[in-house]
């Protein structure tokens, strides 16, 4: 009898392990951005190459994705085998042990040194790489060459914020439905604060001083936020406090903005004649500067990582390596053309003559990313890393609250002085709550 039970249990174990071998199911959580949708489509190729792995996709809007993946990683839920994360999560989660370090796992052909250095730094903690970048971006100034010509203006090779204010005034023509400049106004640490932080940086400001005292009521922040609020109130589109990246993109594509300062990823869409009405007339320039070039452009990436709670580590590594490899970039180029490859991650992409030929913005994107230095983001010394996304666990909390207050100043409900005073107080409150940032 006991032998029979032994037999049965062995047979059962054997069968289930064969079944497990036959099909490893990976659950991949990612953002609903264009490049990720392409990845999902092309992943059929991966499944063909690895018939033992089956991919289940969870594609979500950015905010919801962040809620789900953070909760899962923090509670070791093990719901996801691959997560899509940004420069805020990668180092903090790495430090907390929520992600598996990747240095020893990468195969020889992956060529980790080919990844752009600022991005590699941003995805590492304590010298260990915790996430593989899928695409990366900095910020650029987009402008309408035709409108500039009509108004007799020329965009300098490196515009300053004085130039931007002057151009915006000249281009603003609401009666014809064109506004001088479109910028982000929607509150949120990844929305308006991403842009406003770069303005504050280039006006010489910083989020915290060396002893972690918040600097939001400093003269530099006052100048920067006053400039931003004035510029948008005078020459911005209506409804600005609900405009994020996508809303501004739609406005610019439809020829409603003279200028737009935002993410480099928009360059591809804007030059695509199928999606953009201004594809022939859009010009590119670096992000404007004011007092210092430090931190004038941001640095952001989406990267793939494996939570340490995943039960299919090996299969998950195989997938993230595949999706961030040179071969994957070539695969996208073959399927959708070179202009559509995920930008900003690999040196080799920017040495590809076909890419440089089809994407007029490629070189500028590369330069902007390489010029962004998350390790030295501001003119004055700071105790943190990150340009527009300060790498401390409390930053989403602080960034969201400060973003709300600046949005209130933008629509004129409160003055800039009040907004920054409230912002300073709110930041100090959060710091007391969460302890001085570590």
């Amino acid at each position: 009898m006991s032998r029979f039970i032994l037999f049965c249990s062995t047979a059962f174990t054997l069968l289930t392990s064969i079944a497990a071998l036959a099909q490893t199911r990976l659950t991949i959580a990612t953002v609903n951005n264009g490049d990720m949708i392409v990845m999902q489509k092309l992943s059929k190729q991966f499944e063909r190459e690895h018939p033992e792995i089956q991919l289940d996709w969870v594609v979500l809007e950015e905010k919801i994705l962040r809620e789900k993946t953070t909760t899962d990683a923090a509670t070791h839920g093990g719901q996801f085998d691959v997560v899509t994360i940004g420069p805020l999560e990668a180092p903090i989660w790495g430090q907390r042990g929520w992600l598996t370090p990747l240095n020893d796992k990468l195969s020889a052909g992956y060529d980790v040194d080919d990844l752009l250095k600022p991005i590699r730094d941003g995805a590492s903690y304590g010298g260990k790489l915790y996430a593989l970048p899928f695409y990366a971006e900095s910020s650029l100034t987009y402008y309408r060459k035709d409108l500039f010509q009509k108004a007799g203006l020329t965009m300098p090779a490196q515009p300053t914020y004085d130039d931007i204010a002057r151009f915006a005034k000249a281009l603003n023509d609401p009666s014809k439905g064109t506004y001088g400049v479109c910028l982000r106004g929607k509150p949120g640490w990844g929305e308006n604060m991403a842009y406003i932080s770069t303005v504050a940086n280039t006006f010489g400001g910083r989020w915290f001083d060396e002893s972690w005292k918040p600097q939001l009521d400093s003269p530099e922040w006052h100048t920067a936020v006053n400039f931003y609020v004035n510029l948008l109130q005078k020459y911005g589109p209506p409804g600005i406090s609900s405009n994020g990246f996508n809303e501004s993109l739609t406005l610019f594509e439809n020829g409603r903005c003279g200028m737009w300062i935002d993410a480099t990823v928009a360059a591809g869409t804007l030059s695509d004649t199928k999606q953009s009405k201004v594809a022939d007339t859009v010009g590119f320039a670096p992000a404007p500067i004011a007092v210092t070039p430090r931190g004038a452009q941001w640095l952001w990436f989406w990267a793939l990582a494996v939570p340490s709670s995943s039960k299919h580590q090996e299969a998950a590594f195989k997938f993230i390596e595949w999706a961030t490899s040179k071969d994957y970039i070539r695969l996208v180029a073959k399927a959708n053309g070179w202009a559509a490859v995920p930008p900003g991650t690999r040196e080799s992409t920017y040495k590809q003559p076909e890419y440089l030929a089809t994407a007029p913005f490629a070189e500028l994107t590369y330069k902007s990313i390489m010029a962004a230095d998350p390790l030295h983001p501001t003119e004055k010394p700071v105790p943190y890393t990150g340009i527009q996304c300060i790498v401390i666990p409390a930053f989403p909390t602080i960034g969201n609250q400060v973003g709300q207050m600046i949005a209130a100043a933008l629509v004129g409900n409160i003055s800039v002085d009040e907004a920054l005073k409230d912002a300073q107080a709110a930041t100090e409150r959060v710091q007391r709550r969460m302890g001085i940032a570590k």
């Binding site: 809620e67 609900s242 949005a407 302890g435």
Partner: protein, 307 residues
């Protein structure tokens, strides 16, 4: 009829006689399982909320957890946005109630009349109720109130006015408008059935006594609607205390905290700031607020419901 109590009625006897304690015990033990289930159902979430409200628990800081005494309470109660969000919750509930019941009564009386196309008009007035909150918020945000390509902006431009940026200038009012639009059909439907249940002979009698339409409304129809109004108020209050989707989709609680209500505040604590302890305190505050409102409503409507 008059001597009913004199004859022996076993049912009545069974209902009125005093039960012995053994009987009570056995009856109670029979009821026990369902009471236990109901108790667990309603009380476990409450106790978990209370328990978490005394814990220091931020998802982002797994190494700093444990009992925190009144720390969470101190933090939340000193939050300048708490008082505002309670006030916004009350304003939102109150304003939507006034608008839906006011307009709802008028529409109910109107739809009670015979007129051409009444059937279609009734369907149209009910339609908004079947639109999901997120969808209706999106429609209002992008197609009605958008300052650039919204319908209201178009109307204002066509008469030579400057379009209003609704969600920036009057965020809470905009949300009240959206929510009222959603809940008006419910009020109309409930009040219309009440109006229709009014006895035709009474109306006719009033008319013969010389009551005009206005007197008719205030002395015959409105008193008759009391119970329906109480029901609408109760049910709407329950849902309106928790309005969230409309705020999430349109204003994200801003600009500043101008349209943050209590449920959005809790969301902000729990899911944007990962502060489970703080969010639980918000939950406790919400429970207290809901109970105060419920007490108030019960008091003022109890007689209507008993009648």
């Amino acid at each position: 009829m008059a001597n009913r109590n004199l004859t022996y009625d076993p049912t009545l006897y069974e209902q009125t006689r005093k039960k012995t304690w053994q009987e009570r015990l056995s009856l109670f033990s029979l009821k026990m399982p369902s009471i236990a289930v109901l108790f667990l159902w309603s009380v476990i979430p409450l106790f978990m909320t209370l328990w978490f409200s005394f814990q220091r628990y931020n998802i982002m800081e797994p190494d700093k957890t444990g009992f925190d005494g009144l720390g969470n309470y101190r933090y939340l109660l000193s939050d300048p946005s708490l008082a505002l969000s309670i006030w916004h919750t009350v304003v939102l509930v109150g304003a939507v109630l006034v608008i839906t019941i006011g307009l709802g009564t008028l529409l109910a009386v109107l739809f009670d009349q015979e007129f051409f196309g009444r059937g279609i008009a009734r369907v149209l007035v009910l339609a908004p109720f079947f639109v999901m909150p997120t969808v209706s918020a999106l429609v209002w945000k992008n197609m009605m109130m958008h300052p650039d390509n919204g319908f209201l902006a178009f109307l204002m431009r066509s008469v030579g006015l400057k379009p209003v940026d609704w969600f920036a200038v009057a965020p809470l009012t905009s949300i009240i408008i959206i929510v009222s639009w959603q809940w008006l059909p419910f009020a109309v439907l409930t009040l219309l059935t009440a109006v229709q249940s009014l006895d035709g002979e009474r109306k006719e009698a009033a008319r013969m006594d010389g009551a005009g339409p206005i007197a008719m409304f205030f002395y015959i129809i409105w008193p008759h609607l009391g119970r329906a109004v109480a029901a609408v108020t109760m049910i709407e209050s329950i849902f309106l205390l928790g309005v969230f989707a409309e705020i999430y989709v349109t204003t994200s609680g801003g600009p500043g905290f101008a349209s943050t209500n209590l449920s959005f505040l809790i969301y902000r604590y729990a899911l944007l700031e990962y502060d489970i302890g703080g969010a639980s305190v918000g939950g406790v505050v919400a429970i207290i607020l809901a109970n105060i409102l419920a007490l108030f409503l019960m008091r003022s409507f109890a007689k209507n419901l008993d009648a």
